[in-house]
Subunit: 343 residues, 2 copies
Amino acid sequence: MDLIDRKYRILQAIIDDYILTALPVGSRTISRKYEQKLSSATIRNEMSDLEELGYLDSPHTSAGRVPSNKAYRLYVDQMLRPMPLSVEETAFINRCFDRRANQVEDLSMRIAKALSSMTRYTTAVMTRTPRNEQMLSHLQLVPVADRRVLLILVTKSGTVKQSLLEIGAGVAPDELYTVSRILSSQLEGVPLSQLPGELMRLCGRSETGIHAIVRAMAEQTPPESQSDIVALAVGGRSNLLSFPEYSDVEKAKALLSVLETREKVVSLLSQHGEMELSVRIGPETGLEETKDCSIVTASYRLSDGRVNTIGMIGPTRMQYGKVLSVLSQVGRSLGDLLEEQND
Amino acid sequence: MDLIDRKYRILQAIIDDYILTALPVGSRTISRKYEQKLSSATIRNEMSDLEELGYLDSPHTSAGRVPSNKAYRLYVDQMLRPMPLSVEETAFINRCFDRRANQVEDLSMRIAKALSSMTRYTTAVMTRTPRNEQMLSHLQLVPVADRRVLLILVTKSGTVKQSLLEIGAGVAPDELYTVSRILSSQLEGVPLSQLPGELMRLCGRSETGIHAIVRAMAEQTPPESQSDIVALAVGGRSNLLSFPEYSDVEKAKALLSVLETREKVVSLLSQHGEMELSVRIGPETGLEETKDCSIVTASYRLSDGRVNTIGMIGPTRMQYGKVLSVLSQVGRSLGDLLEEQND
DNA sequence: GTTAGCACTCGATCGGTTTGAGTGCTAATC
DNA sequence: GATTAGCACTCAAACCGATCGAGTGCTAAC
C-alpha cells in the first residue's frame, strides 16, 4: 500500500508533531509548520484520506488527528531518518562503560539509569542465559561457617551461580576441596536443570564420608525455574510520570506496577524475535497493561550463548529515531564489553 | 504539656478519622461518630484550643481540621492502642518465611513485596554490615575461564562477597587452591576495607608464581565504598499512587524518584537511632522530598554485627498502629531467621 | 461549662455561555 | 482536476455566576 509522496510527507509531519507535543494535530498546524505551500484545506482533504486508510484517528470531531498504531508502524519501518547522537550524548554513553564493574548487576543498573536519564524513558537491561545452554563446567564448595557451605557453580559459558547449603555435620576445608574436585569431574557437562537429579544418583553410590554433602547439594540446589536470568535492572521508572499520557494516576499506577513485577518485565524484554533491534507498538507489546506503550529493544547474543537485551518503554508516541540510535549504539557496546570480559 | 482527658480523646478521634479518610475533620463528624455526649459546638471549642496548642491545622476557614506533625508525634508516642494482627495476616506473614531462600536478596525482596501488598505501603528491606566490623574469615579463588578467576571473600560474620578477577596468565586449579589457603591464613582477621592495602604489601614479597594473582587481587578488589550494604529490596512503590495525597503527579514523581535512588533509600533506612522500632514523621525523615511522609522502621542488630532494617513509607497520615504491629512482628521473625541461618 | 442558634466563609459543584481550534462541504479559482 | 477560500457546524475546554453545604466563630441562653 504505497502512499503517494505528498500524503506520505503529511503523515510524517503529523507523526513528528504529535510525538513532540502529544496534542492532536490540526490541518492548520501542518500547513503552517510543515507544508507552507499547501493550504489547510488541502491538508484537510489529505488527512481525511489518511484517516480512511487507517493511519489517523480523530479523538472527536473537532480535535485534530492522532496517528494510529498502523501509522507508527509505517513510521518506524520506513520513515525514520537516521538520527546520529550528539557528541555530548556519545560522550555520556561512553562514560558508562568507563568505570570498571565486574558484576553484571552493577553494570546493568548503571546503564539502565544512564539511558533513562538520557532519554527520559524507562530502561531495562537484562542478561539471560537460555536454560538448555547452561551446562556445568565445574563446581566448588567454600566453607562459610561451621555447618554452612557456599556452593559455587560455574557454567561452560562462564557465568557463576551460588547458593548456600546447610550440611549435617562440619567438614574440613581440605575435604571440601577434594569433594569439589571429584564432583566437578563427575558432573562436568551436565545441564544445570538436571543437576539435582544427577546428584541424587551419585548420592546412592557415594562413600559415606561425602554422602551428607552430596545429599545436601541434591536437596538444596535451587530448581532452575527462573534462574536462567542472570541479571535484570530497571531504571527511571518515575520518568513515566512526566508524560501527559500518565497524568491519569490510575494509568500510571497500572504501568508502574507492571514495571515492578520482575516476571512481567522479563516477559516484555523477551519477545523480540531474535531481532537485533525490535520495535513493538501498542498491543504488540503483549501485555494488556502496556497496550498504549511501545517497547524498543536491542538484543545481542553473545558467543557463549547468553543473550543481552536492553529495552526502553514509553507511550506509543515515542521518539523512535532517538531511542533506536541510542539503543543500537549502547547495545553493541555492551555486547562487546560482555563478550570481551568473557575470553 | 498534658492534655486533659477530653481534649486528648477528641484529638485522638480526629487523628483516627483523618488517617482513615484523608479528609479534614469537622466538629460535627466528631460529635456524631466519636463523642455523642457532646455537641458539635463543644467540640468546636475544644478544637479551637487544640489548634492554638499546635496540634491541629486548618487548611482554610471552613474546611475542618487536619492533625499537625506534633499531633502525629503525640499519637504514636502515647495514643497508640496495640493492634494485634488478624489470624489471616499472621498466616500471610508466616508464609513469607516458609519457602526457603538461601540468598538474602531473594528473601528481602519477597518480604518487601509481601509487606507492601499487605499494608499498601511501600516497603524496603535492607541488611547492612557496618564497614568496620567486616573482617575476613577466609577467601577462595575459583577458576571460571582461562584467565578469569572468581574471588570469594567470606567474612567473620558469614556474609559472602564475590568479584571476578582477570589475571595475566592461566593458573591450574590446584595451584589456585594452594594460593587460597596461603592467603586465607595470612589475611585472616583483616578488615575488608584494608584488604587492597594488605594485598599490596604481600605482593611485594610473594614468590613470583603467585605474584600475578595477588597483584590482580590487590588491584581489582572493589573498594569498600558502599559495599557494606549487603542487600536492599524495595517493594510496592506503585502503591503510593493510591493515596489521594499523591494524586498530584508531580508530588508522586518526586517521591518515586527518591525511592528509585539507592543511596537515598539507604539513607532513609539508616536514620533510626539504634532503636528497634522507630517512627519518623514529616521533616524528621531527613529528606526534603519526604517532608510530607512518615517512615516506620524496625531494625535488629544480629549477633554477627549485621543490622537488618525493614522500613515502610507512606503519607504522614499513616496507619501507625497497624504498621508498627506488622513491622515489629516481621522484623523480629526476620531477625531470628537470619540469626539462625548464621550459626 | 455546655449548647443552641446564627451569621459568615469558602471550596466544590452545577448549569449555562463563550471561545477557539478543529472539521467537512461547497463553490469559486488556478 | 487539483487547490483553496469561505462558511456552517462540532465539541472540549475555559469561564462565570449562582448555589450548596460543610465548616467555623461568636453570642446568648440554659
